[in-house]
Amino acid sequence: MAQYLALTYTADIDWFDPRYAAELAEYQQFGRDHKDSIRAAAVLHPTSTATVVRVVGARGGDVVTTDGPYAETKEALTGYYLIEAADLDEAVAVAAQIPAAWGGAVEVRPVLAAN
């Protein structure tokens, strides 16, 4: 088995907002439906809460923090699922069930196997 990180890109919304309760419930339903293949998951606060950290020069250099996401895009990274699957076809089949896949997009990336 291999692991894939399914990154969800959707509108940059605040999931606490009660307007999105129905959508959030869809994600929870997805989580229950695929609990056997989901190893970890997280939903993120909107990008307005993001902080980018950089260290100047080399390790130990000055820490520079800036407000906002690393990349400004129309669709933002709003969460992820760590999926276990036999191969990419299987991972894609699970990823296609994440609500973000029709509201936005899901990027599936293989996780480097730890040896």
Binding site: A86, D87, D89, P110, L112
Partner: protein
């Protein structure tokens, strides 16, 4: 003296290599492993055949040996990282070699569909299929896909890496998945034909075996999905081009220019079939013609002309303009310049040529147009430039002959 078993081996690998690999990919479900195993089997043959003699069925011997090598490799890998590779691969190896249930009956065509996985970029699918399933070299693959050899080698490495780390399985697609893979499969078949019809270099102007295989695949593809306009257009294009192939070379294997071809040697039945397919394909698509339809329309225009002089060159230029607007390529731009020269004269042709990136065939066209405008000295130089690059042997002979004619006319 070369060992006869060695000649037999290289022949088997050249003619049957792609099929052996195709069988291996199907049984082991892993491209890299299949390639390594076939390579090991060839090495084994190099050791065994001179000693024990060429086996009665060389292809079967190589296939079976490669399968054993694959099992050995899986075992070795299994010992190193048992959890990494599942026993499923081995299970598949022990199952008989019957293809899974699919509407695609042909082994080779099914593998091309399998190779055209949607998780790979469209051009990556085509490159991979040409290199691994159609037996083209990296240089040939690069040439038909209009890129450099080094860039193609790097690209293929990256494609294989994605297949390995993402674990893209070699699974025959379900019938419902076929249409979404069709565009790439059509591109593979067309590029395969191109590699045979206009080889990079080598002893012959045309590789008849490769052209025949591409035509066979195009026909199978159209039979499989008869209502799809794309395979109909590809088959039309191949038929209309292949119909004229016998007249392109003379008995000595030398180039015969379109102007001098015996049009009686063109295959009238294939031309008629190609035209009918093109019409049917055009009826199924909307206002914008696709590149295959446009290329087929150009071929049909040539096929319909009663003579070289009677060709509607203005219409051919118009079709090339349309083709370049939907699918710009240096090859099409070069052909357009030739058509412009026929329609409007060599000076206009030279003018059109200026916007096209140079290559050996560009220099050959350049030389011809210079000669036609009476600039024989320049034509000789251009022919020398053409001869410095990669050309097939017949093209080389033709170019040398022309160059000496122009040298005389230049009065040197």
């Amino acid at each position: 003296m070369v060992d006869p078993s060695r000649t037999r081996l290289s022949e088997t690998v050249r003619i049957e290599g792609a099929r052996i690999l195709a069988t291996l990919v199907r049984t082991v479900g892993d491209l890299q492993l299949a390639e390594d195993a076939v390579q090991e089997a060839v090495l084994a043959a190099l050791r065994e055949w001179p000693r024990a003699g060429v086996p009665p069925q060389p292809r079967a011997w190589l296939t079976l040996t490669a399968k054993r090598k694959a099992i050995d490799m899986l075992r070795r890998e299994g010992a190193r990282a048992a959890k990494e590779r599942e026993g499923a691969d081995l299970m598949e190896l022990s199952t008989p070699d019957t293809p899974p249930d699919s509407v695609v009956r042909d082994d080779q065509l099914r593998l091309i569909f399998t190779c055209c996985h949607p998780a790979l970029a469209p051009d990556a699918r085509v490159a991979l299929a040409l290199r691994t399933l159609c037996g083209l070299s990296v240089a040939q693959t690069a040439a038909v896909l209009l890129t450099g050899e080094a860039a193609m080698a790097k690209r293929l490495t990256r494609i294989r890496q994605k297949i390995t780390v993402s674990r893209i399985p070699y699974r025959v697609p379900a019938d419902a998945e076929l249409p979404s893979r069709l565009a790439a499969v059509c591109a593979v078949v067309h590029a395969l034909y191109t590699s045979g019809h206009a080889p990079l270099d080598g002893p012959a102007l045309v590789d008849v075996d490769v052209c025949g295989e591409a035509l066979r695949l195009a026909r199978l593809l159209h039979d499989l999905l008869p209502d799809e306009p794309l395979p109909a257009a590809v088959l039309a294009l191949l038929l209309l081009t292949e119909a004229r192939r016998p007249a392109r070379v003379d008995a000595a294997g030398d180039v015969v220019l379109l102007a001098d071809q015996d049009r009686g040697r063109w295959d009238a039945a294939w031309i008629a079939e190609g035209r009918a397919l093109l019409d049917a394909s055009l009826r199924r698509t909307g206002a914008v013609a696709d590149p295959y339809q446009l290329q087929a329309a150009i071929a049909a225009e040539h096929a319909a002309a009663p003579s070289y002089a009677g060709t509607d060159w203005a219409e051919i230029v118009r079709l090339y303009d349309l083709l370049l607007s939907v699918a710009p390529s240096p090859t099409a731009a070069l052909s357009r310049a030739v058509a412009v020269a026929e329609a409007l004269g060599p000076v206009a042709g030279l003018d059109a040529l200026r916007a096209v990136p140079p290559g050996p065939r560009w220099h050959a066209v350049h030389a011809e147009l210079l000669a036609r405008s009476g600039r024989y000295r320049d034509a000789v130089d251009a022919a020398t430039e053409a001869l410095a690059g990669e050309l097939t042997e017949p093209e080389r002979r033709y170019q040398r002959r022309r160059r000496s004619e122009w040298e005389e006319l230049a009065g040197s």
